[in-house]
Each structure stands twice: as structure tokens, then as C-alpha cells.
Assembly symmetry: C2
Homo-oligomer: 144 residues x 2
DNA sequence: AAAAACGGTTTCATTATTAAACCTAATTAA
DNA sequence: TTAATTAGGTTTAATAATGAAACCGTTTTT
């Protein structure tokens, strides 16, 4: 009756979602990328209830996505390497969202820090460098 | 009191998650990429309760991720362009999962259809082609 | 010293998820 | 041709997750 059960799954997508598939997790990571570290700031930006933010942050620390450092008796939440490694996931998701969903107001964007321009569209490449389209990949599943 | 509220958000990540952020959605998309089209096959592979699979599929059709076609009085669920466009998201997620989570058994993989080899690691590029690391991007937020 | 803010925890109501039973139409087996 | 089974769901009732608001001790500001 619990909600998730994909921990040791053969599929890396399932395992990834077991860690970051919760409703708020990727949004917290997004804010952490934007420099947010304090409980109250996450709460304000996300508009999430404090209790569930507390449990999410605790879970994320347990999963190794965030680490806490006590700065002046005030704890800060910072991305670990494992959390930072989600950057390409966020960028890819953002590009899909920009292409296929409509904003009411133009808002947040991920930009190249040097030029402050948008990023190039993510491409999926084969080992030899060929650009792969949607029909060019196969998903090999264990039970199929 | 409802669960989601990010529909017209300024942030494309939030809008994307509003569509694909549900617990089972990306796993359904993954299976659809693997060629699954029928209700029972989704149910078998995912191990999800039939009622929630039914509502998820209905939602995903409403959101334009899947379309149904009545093949011999038996409906099939197929990816739309919008759904297929999530391929890079799945690939990036899978690569993160492969790098940062541990499988109990080696299982599903996304492969280049021609060579049947793994894909190249996704790179985030600036407009001018520079490879961007984690410190090389900035997230511009509306309320920050 | 008093007041406000920070970082939560607790409580209780609402919503989502689940397993299991059930149902109807279509297909397969006898 | 009938009977049994399967596919594709829907309904029901229990459990788990989520949410808003109140509360609480500590820390910071006034």
C-alpha cells in the first residue's frame, strides 16, 4: 500500500524517478540551482506547505541530493554532486516545457552564464556522434 | 487543497512537471517508447493498479501526450508528437539514474537503434557551442 | 527587554493511491 | 454454438500522502 516500489528496478528511469519523481523534488532542486538555500525561501518561492517541505528536504538529504550545513546556527541546504548532476535533466525538461506548454507570463529561464543567452537545444547523440531522432533509439527492456 | 497548481507558471520546469510530474506518467511514456500500446500491457509492466492506470491514461490523452486509436474495437494508446518529444528527458533521466542509483539486476537500457550501443552522454551547450558545466548556467527567476 | 522572524512540528481535514471485487464486451476454447 | 476466458475498464472501501493552519522553541531584530 505504500506509494513507491521502484528502488532496485532494472530500469534506470524507474530508479531515477524513485529518487526525484516526487511532486516537489525537482522544483526544490531547481530553486537550489537558482541559489536558494534556506527553508523559508524555498517555502516562499514554491508556495508549499511547511510540513511537506520539511519532509521533502529531509528525504532529499537522506537520498544525498542535498546536504545541510549549519551556518550560524541556521541550517542551509545545498546541492551535492548528485543533486547538481540533475542539471541536464532540468534543462531538458525546461526546453520541453517551453516548447509544449504555454506560460501566462514569461518567466524563469535557464541561461548561459557568460553570454546570458538561452542554451542550445539538447541533442541526443549516438556513440559515434550521429544525432539521433525519436525513431533512432530502441528501449531494451528486461521483461520484453 | 488540490495537489497541483503550476499550470500557467512562469517557469517552464514547473509547467512541464504539471504535465509529466505525476508519479506514473513518465513510466507510461517510457513503456510507450518501448512499443507498449495496450492497457493490459502497461498494467503488467508497471504493476500499477488498474483504476489509477485508467485515470492516468485518460489524463495523458487529455494533455495530448497520448492518442487513442480504435483498432478492431480495441483501443490502443500511442505517443503523440508532444509525447515523443519527451525522449530527451527520458534519456537524460536514464543517464542520471544509471550514474547515481544502483540496480539490483542489470535491466533496461536506451540504445542507439543502428549500432545497439549505449548513447553518448548528454551535453548542455551554449548557443555558440561551448560545453556548459554546472557552474556555467544561471537560472533567471521571476520573483528573484 | 520586547517583538518579530526563522525553522520547523503537530493536528486535523481533504485528496490521492491502492488492492480487490465487480462488470460488460469481445475473443478463444470446447 | 455455447461456455469460458480475456481485455478493458469502473466501483468500493481502506490506507497513505498532502495541505492549511495553529503552535512552539530558538534566534534575530528593534
Amino acid at each position: 500500500m505504500k506509494r513507491k516500489c521502484l528502488e532496485g528496478d532494472g530500469c534506470p528511469v524507474a530508479r531515477a524517478l524513485d529518487v526525484v519523481g516526487d511532486w516537489w523534488t525537482l522544483l526544490i532542486i531547481r530553486d537550489a540551482f537558482a541559489g536558494v538555500t534556506r527553508f523559508g525561501d524555498f517555502q516562499k518561492h514554491l508556495g508549499v506547505a511547511k510540513n511537506i517541505l520539511a519532509t521533502r528536504l529531509k528525504d532529499m538529504v537522506e537520498q544525498g541530493l542535498l546536504q545541510t550545513s549549519e551556518v550560524g546556527a541556521r541550517s542551509e541546504y545545498q546541492l551535492t554532486d548528485k543533486g547538481r548532476a540533475l542539471m541536464p535533466v532540468l534543462v531538458t525538461l525546461a526546453q520541453w516545457g517551453q516548447a509544449y506548454t504555454e506560460p501566462e507570463e514569461v518567466g524563469a529561464q535557464v541561461l548561459d552564464a557568460r553570454s546570458l543567452k538561452p542554451l542550445r537545444k539538447v541533442e541526443i547523440l549516438a556513440e559515434d556522434g550521429r544525432v539521433l531522432g525519436i525513431g533512432d533509439i530502441v528501449t531494451q527492456m528486461p521483461g520484453t
